[in-house]
């Protein structure tokens, strides 16, 4: 395959792929590529936010009533976990620039722990209750009307469709993030030069992770903190 680097290892301590002139060009390309990818992600979530805006506009009173099913406490704890994980990610990138291997591994490990905590709360404390209360869109939706808090079942179903679609898509991004950070931490732990000689790979993962956190910063108030 032509894309394998053919430069001598001692000439270039860092992997420079054959299509690039030097490490600066390669790193700049990676960073532009990551930002470009994040633009597509913004548009990807953006379409769902558009749908949310339309139905919030149409069904504001119902959205207010039915949102009381969501626990702002768990949502707030999860927001805190993700904000902390962004902080540990920043520290990871910082230590990567200093090439402090063990501190990078520690920071990335802490990020994984916090992100996993987020998922555990979501999948044990939040989603299962919706199944018990028949608030998952489908044939049985709204068969326990007391949990609708007086909202119209149709509007409430739209609310929970959007809730599961948007937080679900976000959760998929968190899971992918955990896997990527896990691989990165593993490479740092083994001291592989592909990550240790240059901080850019760590920086790229950091950019992705901050994007995922940022999406949650919007999702949390839109679903958990609807004003009357």
């Amino acid at each position: 395959m032509a894309s394998i680097a053919h430069h001598d290892a001692d000439e270039f301590p860092v992997h420079v792929h054959h299509q690039f002139e030097d490490i600066e060009q390669q790193n700049e390309s990676y960073i532009v590529g990551m930002w470009t990818f994040l633009v597509t992600e913004v548009m990807f979530f953006g379409a769902l936010f558009l749908a949310y805006i339309l139905y919030r506009w149409n069904y504001q009173p119902d959205f207010y009533r039915v949102h009381e099913n969501l626990s702002p406490l768990w949502g707030g704890i999860n927001t805190t976990l993700l904000l902390l994980s962004s902080f540990t990610m920043v520290m990871g990138v910082h230590f990567a620039q200093l090439r402090d291997r063990m501190k990078v591994v520690g920071s990335l490990g802490a990020t994984i722990v916090l992100a996993t905590g987020f998922l555990i709360i979501k999948f044990t404390q939040e989603w299962p209750i919706k199944f018990h209360e028949h608030l998952v869109p489908g044939p049985t939706f709204g068969t326990m009307p007391e949990h609708l808090h007086g909202a119209s079942p149709r509007a409430a179903e739209i609310f929970f469709s959007l809730y599961f679609l948007m937080t679900g898509l976000h959760a998929i991004h968190i899971i992918i993030g955990i896997l990527i950070i896990g691989v990165l931490a593993g490479l740092w732990h083994k001291g592989k030069t592909i990550v240790t000689e240059d901080y850019v790979p760590t920086e790229l993962v950091g950019l992705y992770w901050h994007f995922v956190d940022l999406v949650w910063i919007f999702l949390f108030p839109l679903f958990y903190l609807i004003p009357q």
């Binding site: 032509a2 270039f12 054959h18 532009v32 470009t36 548009m43 379409a47 139905y55």
Partner: protein
């Protein structure tokens, strides 16, 4: 682009070395390649295959319409046939054709780069495209979908019984392949230009690909999530777009056209780029108003995102909204007209050579102008209410898509064929064939404008209520037969030329551009040393056409080998 490190003598030796086609002959070396040129060839073969599938569906449509009562197909089968035609042609041919085939091949060469920035992502793009294509084919074989290529809800989400879920999944997957290509192009254009290749020395094809990539990046994710929602509705029964469940089907149309109107520019902007190259090089003149042509591509990309509502003049959209969308739609005509006028001005006093690519380019100028001007009829909300849903609209977008995009694609394939394969195509047949495309196309679609004005609705497979339409339909079907032949002939002679064609020199057209400064076909790494660009774009030195290959090159000595400058 006078500066290059290959002089004629070196070039000769180079041609005896391995080029990208001969460097590795196994199937594996093709299927696991990272080389943008090989991936372009993979895309060329696969898009040509899907073009034939879509073309077959088109022939069935034209056959069916030769009689007022229908000839062959039942209503539902007819719906599935035109849906298949639209889905295959748009998602599997028009969107990837010029960017992924011609763009993939020539973009790095034009920039003086060894490859795209992310070769493996490029290969992944082809596999993603093939996966999506296979899913769409499976959907067609298992029963097909009758909801049209637009997948309007609630027909697609609730009522359609075909295998629509798998078809939509295919379109969803194909979207990611264009996103990968778009990311690759943007990064490559920003970061991999050769030294001296400033933004305003970029060939206009590169500007067009840049604008296209911007649209791909901003639009495709939106249609992906929209199609994803339709799939989710079909699978889980939620009702984001279903009125019975509290959803809004018009939201689907907004989200769909937010991508799919700009997608029209994904199909035509690359064509503009190809035409700019061909017209400049076959007139041997710098393109008139280079900056205007370059920025008009970006203007079209920007305005293209603000006009989607003109697809919804009769979809319960408010009148005031329609007025605004109508006005902005008119504005798109401005950058499009800038391009047409500037191409025409480039021809003026140019040293024009009517070789096959140029004939295609001139056909494009005429056909695209008609396609664009009839677009204004449809942008004006009042006339559109009368014309929407008729054959007028069918004729309009075929003028842009076939008369524009496919003509440009054929012109581009002919123009870069010597570079891609190292062989010349047979010129005389190609010239005659280009005229045949024009005649067949015009005969197919001019009658459809008239039919549409008379009131023939689109998507109907009979018109027994108006037998006076029949002569126009027969003329159209006759034209379609000529067009089908005119599309088959290049397939035959281009393949023939691979074995028997005359060997091409590095620059058989006497064209100006970095891609013509490397061997035909180029070697795997494109350039032995990264070139340094010292002259302006389309800067023809006025050398006569007789010995085009190397006549106007000035050799620059003393270049540092690639990859060593900073170490």
């Amino acid at each position: 682009m006078s500066a290059t490190v290959v002089n004629p003598g070196e070039l000769h030796e180079e041609q005896e070395q391995l080029n990208y086609l001969t460097n590795g002959k196994s199937l594996k070396s093709w299927l696991l390649t990272g080389d943008h040129k090989r991936i372009a060839i993979l895309y060329l073969i696969s898009t040509a295959f899907f073009f034939m599938v879509g073309g077959f569906a088109a022939s069935m449509i034209r056959l069916e319409l030769t009689s007022p009562a229908g000839v062959l197909l039942e209503s539902e089968t007819y719906n599935k046939t035109f849906s298949a035609h639209g889905i295959v042609m748009i998602f599997l041919f028009l969107i990837p054709s010029i960017p992924a085939v011609i763009g993939n091949f020539v973009l790095p060469l034009m920039l003086g780069a060894r490859d795209l920035a992310f070769p493996r992502l490029n290969l992944l793009s082809w596999y993603t495209y093939m996966l999506g294509g296979i899913l769409i084919m499976i959907g067609m074989i298992l029963g097909g979908t009758e909801a049209g290529w637009t997948f309007y809800t609630p027909l697609s989400s609730m009522y359609s019984h075909g295998t629509i879920t798998i078809t939509i999944l295919g379109a969803f997957v194909v979207g990611f392949s264009s996103i990968f290509t778009g990311i690759n192009f943007i990064v490559t254009i920003h970061k991999m230009r050769a030294p001296g290749m400033t933004w305003f020395r970029l060939p206009l094809f590169v500007w067009a690909m840049y604008a296209t990539s911007v649209i791909i990046l901003l639009g495709t994710p939106v249609v992906a999530i929209t199609l994803g929602l339709v799939m989710t509705e079909r699978i889980t029964g939620i009702g984001i777009f279903s009125p019975e469940l509290g959803g809004d089907p018009v939201l689907f149309q907004h989200m769909f056209w937010f991508y799919s109107h700009p997608a029209v520019y994904i199909m035509i902007l690359p064509g503009f780029g190809v035409i700019s190259e061909i017209i400049a090089n076959f007139s041997r003149k710098r393109i008139f108003g280079y900056h205007f042509v370059a920025f008009s591509s970006l203007a079209i990309a920007g305005l293209g995102f603000l006009v989607w509502g003109h697809h919804m003049f009769i979809s319960s959209q408010s009148m005031y909204q329609s007025v605004v969308f109508s006005l902005i739609s008119f504005l798109v005509a401005v950058p499009s007209a800038i391009k047409v006028f500037n191409w025409t001005a480039t021809l003026y006093k140019g040293n024009i050579r009517l070789q096959a690519p140029m004939i295609y380019a001139l056909c494009f100028l005429g056909l695209f102008t008609i396609g664009g001007l009839t677009g204004l009829f449809l942008a004006s909300a009042g006339t559109d209410v009368h014309l929407t849903g008729t054959y007028f609209i069918v004729a309009h977008f075929h003028y842009v898509m076939v008369g524009g995009a496919i003509t440009a694609f054929l012109g581009g394939v002919h123009y870069w064929w010597p570079k891609m394969t190292g062989r010349m195509y047979p010129e005389k047949i190609a010239q005659v064939n280009a005229l045949l495309v024009f005649i067949g196309f015009t005969l197919t679609f001019i009658p459809q404008f008239i039919l549409g004005f008379m009131g023939m609705p689109r998507r109907y497979h009979y018109y027994y209520f108006a037998p006076e339409f029949q002569p126009y339909h027969i003329a159209s079907s006759l034209g379609a037969s000529i067009l089908a032949i005119a599309f088959l002939i290049p397939g035959i002679y281009l393949v023939w030329s691979l074995f028997k064609g005359e060997k091409a020199s590095a620059n058989p057209w006497g064209a100006h551009g970095l891609e013509w400064e490397t061997a035909s076909p180029p070697d795997t790494h494109n350039f032995h040393h990264i070139p340094i660009v010292t002259d302006e774009v389309y800067d023809f030195p006025g050398v006569e056409y007789a010995h085009p290959s190397h006549g106007h090159k000035k050799k620059k000595g003393d270049l540092t080998p690639a990859g060593k400058e900073n170490h």
